[in-house]
Structure formats: C-alpha cells, structure tokens
C-alpha cells in the first residue's frame, strides 16, 4: 500500500529506523522554515526491519556531507535521488570508521566543548549495530540523541 505519492524530483530516504525520522529531518536541517514539500511516514511495516520510517524531500538532492550526518542515526538507510519520477541515483550511506567534523562530543567535560579549540571533532565508530561512537579525545561513549543537538 502506497502511503505517500511518488515525487517528481528530490530525495527519498528509506529504511530509516522506526521513530528516527524526526531526528533525520533535524540532522538535515529540514524544519518549518523551508519551502520544499516534505512527506514523512513513521512506523510502517518492513520485512527487513520490522518497522521503518520513510522520508521524501521534494526538489532537493542530498549531498555526501549530508549523508555522513545521516550515518549517526540511520546508518543503514537507503537513499534514492529522484529525477522525473525515476530513480536517477542510489546512494549508499557509508559509515566510516571515524566521523569527522559532523557533531561535537556529547560529554560536558570534554576538551572539545571549548568552541575555540581548532582541531577537528573526531568520533570513532566502536560498534556498528547497535551504533556506538566514542570521542577520539575523551573516549566517552556518545549519546546518539545528544549528537543530533550537537551537529556542527
């Protein structure tokens, strides 16, 4: 059953973990102030995942940098760029061993909380499923939801 109509141009993000769609929108900076139509369905049945969320953003194609951000909350999401109602490109979210300059460490006493310190923010992926990241500097396990608030 199609819950949302096909889009002419834009980006479809499928296989977002159930309940994470709002975090994905936040990570992409998609809020009420943008004019593109955005469709969102949550908690739909999925053979692969049990349940999933789907997001369709019209007239906007995600960049690789934006995909890197998605890896923090939806590392296994599949992304399709739609042009003239057809899938023009399928993009992979490759969760690299290290997430650099995407989000600031969530630990309040980390040296990187000083915004003037110039070195890159580096989060090491220590486990992929479930996703676990640690700050390269302080070694603290990251609060994934908190990282959404700490996006750079």
């Amino acid at each position: 059953m199609r819950r949302v109509t096909a889009i002419k141009n834009g980006t479809v993000i499928d296989h977002v973990p159930s309940g994470k769609a709002l975090s994905v929108l936040k990570m992409l900076g998609i809020g009420g102030s943008m004019s593109n139509p955005v469709s969102l369905v949550m908690n739909v049945p999925s053979k692969k995942m049990g349940g999933k969320d789907i997001i369709k953003v019209e007239d906007r194609e995600l960049t690789q940098n934006e995909l890197d951000r998605l890896a923090l909350v939806a590392p296994d999401a599949s992304v399709a760029i739609i042009r003239a109602y057809s899938v023009a490109e399928k993009l992979e979210i490759n969760l690299t061993a290290e997430v650099v300059n995407v989000a600031r460490c969530t630990f309040s006493n980390c040296i990187t909380t000083n915004h003037r310190e110039p070195l890159p923010h580096r989060l090491l992926v220590t486990n992929r499923v479930p996703l676990e990241l640690r700050c390269r500097y302080c070694g603290k396990t990251q609060d994934i939801e908190g990282l959404v608030d700490n996006l750079l």
């Binding site: 630990f107 040296i111 310190e117 302080c138 070694g139 603290k140």
Partner: protein, 316 residues
C-alpha cells in the same frame, strides 16, 4: 608524535621493558649515582590542575637524569586566563621543550595536546580520564612486591568513577591477566566503557559495594580518595564521603605478602594504623613515581638506558 595518553599506547612488552629500565635506574633515582642520560633535554611541566606528587616526581626524574624543567606555573597568572586555547599553549611550549608532562581538568585534553604537538606528551591526568604514568609506577610497585604482574588478585576500591588512576590501572591489570575486583559505592562505579573494554579483553570483572569481604583473597588492595573536586555539588559528595575506611584490624586475615597501595593524597580511607603494617606500600609507591618517569622519558626520547648503570654513572 608518540606519547603516553592511555595505557593503550604501550604494548605489554614495552611496559615490561620500561619497568626493567626503571629497575636499573633505581640508584640514580635515589641520588646514589649521577647518570646524565637526558642532559640538554628540557621537560615542559604543564599542570592546569593542582598536583604535588606527579609534578614533583616528573621534575625530580628529569633533574636526576641531568635534564632541565620549565613550568607553566600558576594557571591564574598564565595566558590561559586570557583565553588562550590549549592548542595555542601547546604550540608555544612545544617550541620551548623536548617533552611535555600535562595535567588538565578537561577529559581528552592529553589526546588533544598529543594531536597538536611535535614533542611527546605524557598524560599526567585529564579530568576523570586517564593517568598512565601513575599506572607505570603502580605496576613497578606491584612487580617489585610480587615479582610478577600476572595472575594477581587486585581489588580497586573507592571512587572508581572519577578516579583516573584506577581507569588506567585496570586496563593494564586486565592485559596481564589479573583478576580485578571493583569495590565502590553504587554511585561511584567504574565507568561502563572501561568495564566493557575489560570484558571484551576476556577479563572477569567483579563489581561490588563490599570491600572487607575481599581482603583475604587479595594480593593488592588499591585504595582511592573520593574525588571531591569532581562532584557536581557538596550534597552528592557528602553521601559517599568516607564510604571505605581501611583500618589495621581489618587486615588480620590478609595474605602476608598482600600490599596496600594508594595514589595519594589520602583523606581518611586508610587509617594511620595501617602505616606501620607490612602491607603499607603507598609511600614506597610515591617514590617509585620518580624512577618510573625517568625510564618513561628515556623511552619516549629514544635514549637507551645502559645495561650496567653503575659502570656508566658516577657514584655520588
């Protein structure tokens, strides 16, 4: 540039080699022998947080080996209060020195400094993070007492949440196959990342709120101070202050060779009555900070400690 930020920066073989060199350097640390292996080298002591033993033992270690020391001095009168970043401070001191010892209240500061520097950084404590040079002297003390680091029963007690010395030490003990028991108040348990790391390493970790029940089986009891300065408020500190107080009478059933260690300063977790027992090793442990750091600096600066230090040095 290689540095010592956590114990992961050293292999077991490197640890043993550094401890062997430390053993050789004992007469130099005691001031019985002059052996200027680090003559012409300058240590930068950057202590952004109060320190007595760590700062003084680094300084003594460098001077015993013929080197010199420059100090950041009081943070309140340095450029730090003017808002200088750690990155900039390190760029400056990096240019003045050959090696840096650093303590900082922010966790991760040592790794950050290491990534910013061209000279080796030795982590003298970063917030509630790690304190690997303390671990080297702790391992030296344990090996001196027991002749080995392997397979010992070690109880780490007190503030395991904020006590950085036990964070680094537990990693090292696990790697040498020690059985580690963590005794702490519920709110001061070892951070979950560290327990997870130790278990991933194959260690059987026991977590308990009881200390006295574990004394008789222990080869080492490592006491720590409740880190008052790291508590968010006085009320939280008051709930756990004085949770463990070790008294000489508690040691009646202990093994004869069991040693009690403490990174110092102590408050009231070890009663003075323990000081005169055969188990008290904490003052010897504090002395060992000099020799362990001498050896560590030689290793980091690529200076070989001669096999026969007596032949190489001048008797004082």
């Amino acid at each position: 540039m290689p540095g010592i930020i956590t114990m992961d920066d050293l292999t077991n073989e490197e640890i043993i080699s550094i401890l062997d060199d430390a053993e050789k350097l004992l007469p130099v640390a005691r001031g019985e022998l002059y052996l200027p292996l680090l003559q012409g080298r300058i240590l930068g002591n950057l202590f952004f947080e109060p320190s007595t033993r760590t700062r003084m033992s680094f300084e003594t270690a460098m001077k015993r080996l013929g080197g010199d020391v420059v100090n950041l001095g009081d943070v309140k009168t340095s450029s730090v209060v003017k808002g200088e970043t750690l990155f900039d401070t390190i760029q400056m001191v990096d240019g003045y020195t050959d090696i840096i010892a650093m303590r900082h209240p922010r966790q991760g500061a040592a790794q950050y400094a290491c990534d910013s520097a061209r000279v080796p950084i030795m982590n003298g404590g970063d917030g509630a993070g790690h304190h690997p040079t303390q671990t080297m002297l702790d391992l030296f003390t344990i090996r001196s007492a027991h002749g080995t680091l392997e397979g010992l029963n070690v109880v780490l007690a007190g503030d395991l949440r904020y006590g950085r010395t036990v964070h680094s030490l537990s990693h090292a003990l696990a790697r040498f196959g020690c059985n580690v028991t963590f005794a702490s108040p519920e709110g001061l348990r070892m951070p979950e990342e560290i327990v997870a790391d130790l278990r991933a390493h194959g260690s059987e970790v026991v977590e308990t709120t009881e200390l006295l029940n574990h004394i008789d089986d222990a080869d080492v009891i490592y006491m720590t101070r409740i880190q008052k300065e790291r508590f968010p408020d006085e009320e939280e500190y008051a709930k756990v202050a004085g949770a463990y107080k070790l008294h000489a009478r508690d040691l009646d059933g202990a093994k004869a060779e069991m040693i009690i260690m403490h990174p110092l300063p102590r408050v009231d977790e070890i009663h003075p009555s323990v000081d005169t027992t055969r188990h008290a090793f904490y003052f010897q442990q504090a002395f060992n900070g000099v020799v362990a750091r001498m050896s560590l600096m030689c290793w980091l600066l690529g200076v070989t400690v001669p096999e026969d230090v007596n032949a190489a040095g001048v008797v004082l």
